[in-house]
Symmetry: C2
Subunit: 212 residues, 2 copies
DNA sequence: GAAAACAAATGACATAACGTCACAAAATGT
DNA sequence: ACATTTTGTGACGTTATGTCATTTGTTTTC
């Protein structure tokens, strides 16, 4: 998290910094992004940057957090709207999300995010659902999912967490696959992304094995 | 790939370099590893390093390739041994692999590999199966899988590729989950890793949805 | 076996990024 | 008005990267 000093800054200056950072993280993946470029664009001295943020990662995840907050992706509401049908909720969530991520104004930022985020940092980019508390972020899910539709009992919260994690992985993977194809000149349409996601989600839902 | 010059080097010198690199990549994740440390340990001048390798990534993936070659993990043979039963093959593969990765001598290297490999570079760490050719790496799979056991027809090679990719993701994810737990002081046993993997694989095989 | 052609080795160099620190400036409190 | 705290600043030490001119070694050719 940014340091206290940052939040005491004039809003205009805060925005200038965040915009500069956002531009840099849209230009290149996190590892290639440089603090030097950010401060140059924001026109603030080097020392100030480190007065506001711990380091590059600090401002990156703060920026990412802002993006999430401003987006309409809210799995919680969706889950309630579909009476706790987890698969249905994830389907709907993906449809809304894919459109924004692929064609929205932050597409470049998301591209670098999805292609270069590793397992270790994956947790930090999960959707609103697990937003509030890190420790027990899936409490809402555990309480509001309809267990009748799953091979998971209400007494198996850990299994539910794992399933959710797997579903999110599938979401991320599908998006990443899109960007990968794009880079290798085999661009696919957003409909094909949807199809691919549907295919994998179908397997997770009903199995890929042929039980005759 | 290393440059031609590297392969003309005395074997002893090659090994010295690779060992130094391996130690460095075991010490810290790829992004934190430095060429400077590698050349210091290998006792070769800086200029030489760049005569042999393009950059850090070059020697990293070469090292990784050597590891794969020396390991017994061979999905192809396994697939034949189980008459093309893909799920059975992956199960067996995972059992063999998990043990080596978690308790083998290269555990530290693997830890950094699994926790920090992103979507973009994931492909480069796939098992022997897709070893030979990058372009059409899954040809063997397409030809030797028993389609009767899957909800995928022999006329849907693309779907099979996606399923395989998903299975490998599950493998990687399970390993990564182990290391993550370890870091957060909730260490789990290798048996629990197996259980977790079995759970997810079961979903992919038979679905997580309750079709009553 | 000398000369020419090619290959490999070397470390100084230019460049760029990082995070810190001592000091200056501004703001706030009393 | 002065003291105290907070913020601003950019030069600095450090560390890393990849290149290049030059030297050293090896092979080929006549």
């Amino acid at each position: 998290m940014p340091k206290k000093t940052f939040f005491r800054l004039p809003v205009e200056k805060q925005q200038r910094l965040i915009q500069a950072a956002h531009a840099e993280f849209s230009r290149v993946p996190f590892n290639e992004a440089s603090v030097s470029n950010i401060i140059k664009a924001a026109e603030i001295p080097r020392g100030s940057f480190y007065q506001y943020f711990e380091d590059k990662a600090d401002i990156f995840f703060y920026d990412l957090g802002l993006l999430r907050d401003s987006s309409k992706q809210d799995l919680e509401k969706t889950l309630l709207a579909v009476q706790g049908n987890l698969f249905k909720a994830v389907r709907q969530f993906f449809t809304e999300m894919a459109e924004e991520i692929i064609n929205g104004e932050n597409a470049q930022f998301y591209k670098h995010l999805f292609l270069h985020m590793d397992y270790k940092n994956r947790r930090k980019m999960s959707p609103e659902l697990m937003h509030a508390k890190q420790d027990d972020g899936l409490q809402f899910l555990v309480e509001n999912v309809n267990y009748d539709l799953l091979k998971i009992g209400a007494d198996q919260p850990e299994a539910l967490r794992i399933l959710f994690h797997e579903l999110m992985t599938t979401v991320f993977q599908s998006i990443a696959a899109y960007y990968l194809q794009q880079e290798s000149n085999h661009a696919i349409t957003i409909e094909q992304v949807q199809e691919r996601f549907e295919l994998v989600l179908g397997w997770l839902e009903h199995g890929a094995s042929n039980e005759v």
